[in-house]
Symmetry: C2
Subunit: 188 residues, 2 copies
Amino acid sequence: MGALKYAILGLLYQKNMTGYELTKEFETTLLQSWRAKHSQVYPELKSLTEKGLIQYEVKIAGNVLEKKEYSITEEGKNEFLQWAVKLNPIKPIPKDEFRLQLFFSSCIKPEERLLLLENQFTNHHNRLLELRKAIKKFSSIPPDDETEFGDYLVLLGAIMNEENTCKWLKKCITMCQEKMGIEVAAEN
Amino acid sequence: MGALKYAILGLLYQKNMTGYELTKEFETTLLQSWRAKHSQVYPELKSLTEKGLIQYEVKIAGNVLEKKEYSITEEGKNEFLQWAVKLNPIKPIPKDEFRLQLFFSSCIKPEERLLLLENQFTNHHNRLLELRKAIKKFSSIPPDDETEFGDYLVLLGAIMNEENTCKWLKKCITMCQEKMGIEVAAEN
DNA sequence: TTAAAACATGTAAGTATTGACATGTTTTAA
DNA sequence: TTAAAACATGTCAATACTTACATGTTTTAA
């Protein structure tokens, strides 16, 4: 997709960072929009350095440990800002193994379908609680010129998304139970 | 992710098909849960045949055109049904380039952020209208033992998802406009 | 003081996926 | 009749991504 490049440029646009710190951002703040493991981050940093979009300075931590502190170059800023305003078409609905399972669920017993749905509901509901906890760091809506504003909007979207997913799963569960009730009734 | 395998097995569990027909299913019925291009489908069919999970029969269409009609084997059915009932943990929130753009949007002008949001809203709203058109093929909720039931539940989820995305984007637009209104007011 | 956790940076092999290349047949509608 | 659209099957190169391998330092808490 090529967005990893812009995720890194964007983070370095905000603040100088090491590869380790960038990786941590992907595990925390950026979790709701983009992710990357350190094994993808380090090669990308190398490539962006070769392209002249970022640069680094070696810093010594403790006695010997070498850290590379990366910063964005003027060229990097230009490329990032160009991407930041670009109007893109929407992406196809993301692949989802659970939805695939549900699509084919007429092959399994109704009780097993119900188990699948209830398992998903529990997990999504737990994630919803986590996200609601996470948004508490904002005591009010941040000003629109602060970096926190984007963070807030994305987090809000993630919460609304989980709420909606829970609502859908509950609806599916209810529909399945009704169908199963009808069958049981028909047997009697 | 390895789910392509089960998508193909699932489709062949329902009905014998050629690679071309399978590819079309990914472009239509399976669009809301999984996708694959023909360049991925043909090699996967070859691999599944070698593993003994599916088999094919060559059919002649017209005068010379050779079609391979694939069917699922007993071994394939077993593997598919095992997957079909497996409880999986939920996947991380999918990567989304627009959300990444929004996350970093304090770097751009408020008017440009508004353009990004409005562009997304228009596109998602159009997709919503398409999905609502698609669900009309069901005059009522299909019985839970028909293949259409899974299709219905997934389509319902896709619609609710787009509705929610539109709601979130509208909310973001309103919040941005309010912030911009305050700034304009502060200038006077 | 010492062990575990966190910090720090890389590489390598394998899988998944996309987009382009490559080729030909059959059907449909102008 | 003829051109376009749909049918039909493949390969190849490049990118994206994950998991595991590989190694070492510094900090923290028991």
